[in-house]
Amino acid sequence: MDMKRDYYEDIELFPGWVEKFWFFLLLVFLGAFPFISNNYLIYVANFMAINIIVALGLNILVGYTGQISLGHAGFFAIGAFATFTLMQKASFPFLLALPAAALISAIFGFLIALPALRLEGPYLAIATLGFGLTITQVIGMIDLFGGRTGLHAPELLIGPWELKTDLDLYFLLVPLTIGLIIIARNLTRTRVGRAFIAIRDAEIAAETMGVNLIFYKTLAFAISAFYTGLAGGLYAFVLRFIEPEIFGLYMSIVFLTMVVVGGLGSIFGSIAGAMLLSWLDLELRNILDIPYLGNWLKDLSREYFSITGVSNIQYIVFGGILVLIMLFEPHGIYGFWIRTKKYWKTWPF
């Protein structure tokens, strides 16, 4: 019954009415969400949307093309600073500045891809890590980008509308994110996407099949950097203040973790991983306010650890979740999803 009989069936966005129904429900939910929640949750949702965009971009590089990157905070920073600078110093309108900044980021992605062509594994990791560290250093040197003091957000105008509150940004971010998800999804199922996957699975085999390694690898870097740069520009408006120190190594590591924990080579995985980790990133600080557990942890600290350092439980929980997910499900959240789906499909057998 589930067999596909036609190529067009394979590339269809929504294979059946169930998917359409779900998508419709999702849209309703996303539209209604701001009206049934408060500003804080909208801020969290915005934060998640941005991380989803980054995770999509990084997944194209890591999950689909098989290239590791520990420097994506660098592209993120480029996107953020370029957007602000273009708007403030060159008085670009937002709708032009954002893609322009993403394009600049993509150019950097292309440049970093050139030495990366011959590298793999830890070598590529250290090269990209070096890029991430150096680029924030360079940005911090240049007064045009506010030096180490950073930049404040300019007015965000789209046509006649000014976007100021989290709610306004939400209505900008959500459609944009959905659009980018669909683009990424389609991209991975085109000739380009299949070329990426071929490179990931076997470089030499791909080359003999006629995949131009140089072209597609640099393209993967550029697309990935484009997505990340775009997200960076939006992040700058969610935070409304940026300085180079924000875009440190920790951020790059969290980005990479999102993709791996979500599930390599899966759009659903990127979304799930980004949502999970951004939620943990923002919400774990409240761990001590959880009834019973919080008090128990405090008692434990008083007895065996130190109460001044009790907040560090966040790190332990965060790390613990990473370890557990990767131990039991190498395909991340996507793997869990697939297994659950399978289980219910064949239930009760």
């Binding site: 030495p115 011959r118 890029f131 470089e203 350092g309 332990i316 131990l327």
Partner: protein
């Protein structure tokens, strides 16, 4: 000339502590292919155990160091046995994320127990006393010790991998795990021992860093630089890691002193990128051809 020698000496001393971290990373990468981001924090926890024994319970130095090293060996084995070995269908990236998770757990534990304030690590020799090597070239006693330890560890590891049965078995596991298994080598046990040794070397590095600067985040920079050094040397070569570490230390010091102090902490990475363009597997790494 004195300037040159002085900066060179500074570079070598800085390189020594990177070298230990680099060695620790290479040992694990060589046998199991895991880039171990928890390396620094494994050393950190050993250093804090040492601190606790010395400062809280007043043990003597010899007993403390002995137990700290026993702890480090045990910790390494535990990591491998209890966690990494349990990974289902491990992929290189998956294992790396596991080590990142472990890093956070260990860092969290240390900060939870000891708080964020910097600590004063008791140590038999002062990190701030120095001796005069040549005229006007001073080098602190702790740094002399670090250089000595780094050299000794390197030599011992070299001899170990070259001549001991276990060392040869480790090499075999690295080159072809399946064949090694067929030859009757217990690869699991070999991996566990590898992690132990690596944890021990990491603990040495942490103990030598701690007297001058002890806090929960003291191992971040050495870990990164050690990783960079290992990559420079080729990630699979012990000698390479040490040479890489000294190159990184020396470049940093010369660049920082004579060109730009602002870019000192990132110059090593730029140099590495350039070097990798020429030699994609590092200075001493063998570039093996992948079979299709």
């Amino acid at each position: 000339m004195t300037d040159f020698l002085l900066v060179l000496a500074s570079g070598i001393t800085a390189g020594s502590s990177y070298a230990l971290m680099g060695l620790a990373m290479v040992i694990i990468y060589k046998t199991s292919g895991v880039v171990n981001f928890a390396q620094g924090e494994m050393g950190l926890i050993s250093a804090y155990i040492t601190f606790m024994m010395l400062d809280y319970y007043g043990f003597g130095y010899l007993a403390t160091f002995f137990w700290a090293f026993v702890f480090a060996l045990f910790l390494g084995a535990l990591m491998e046995f209890a966690i990494l070995r349990r990974a289902k269908d491990p992929s290189v990236l998956g294992l790396m994320i596991i080590t990142i998770g472990l890093e956070m757990i260990l860092l969290g534990l240390v900060s939870w127990k000891f708080g964020a304030d910097p600590k004063d690590m008791p140590f038999p020799i002062s990190p701030f006393e120095s001796i005069e090597l040549v005229e006007n070239i001073y080098i602190s006693v702790l740094e002399v010790l670090t250089i000595g330890v780094a050299t000794a560890v390197m030599l011992i590891l070299f001899l170990f991998f070259r001549f001991s049965k276990l060392g040869v078995a480790m090499k075999a596991v690295q080159q072809n795990p399946m064949a090694a298994k067929l030859m009757g080598i217990s690869t699991n046990r070999v991996l566990m021992i590898t992690w132990s040794i690596s944890s021990f070397v990491g603990a040495l590095a942490a103990l030598l860093i701690a007297p001058a600067n002890m806090g929960p985040f003291m191992m971040w920079d050495p870990l990164l630089k050690g990783f960079a050094a290992a990559v420079m040397g080729g990630m699979t070569s012990l000698g390479g890691a040490v040479v890489g570490a000294y190159i990184v230390g020396i470049i940093e010091n010369f660049f920082g002193t004579f060109i730009s102090i602002e870019f000192k902490s990132v110059v090593a990475f730029s140099i590495i990128v350039i070097m990798l363009c020429v030699k994609p597997s590092g200075l001493f790494g063998r570039h093996y051809v992948k079979k299709v």
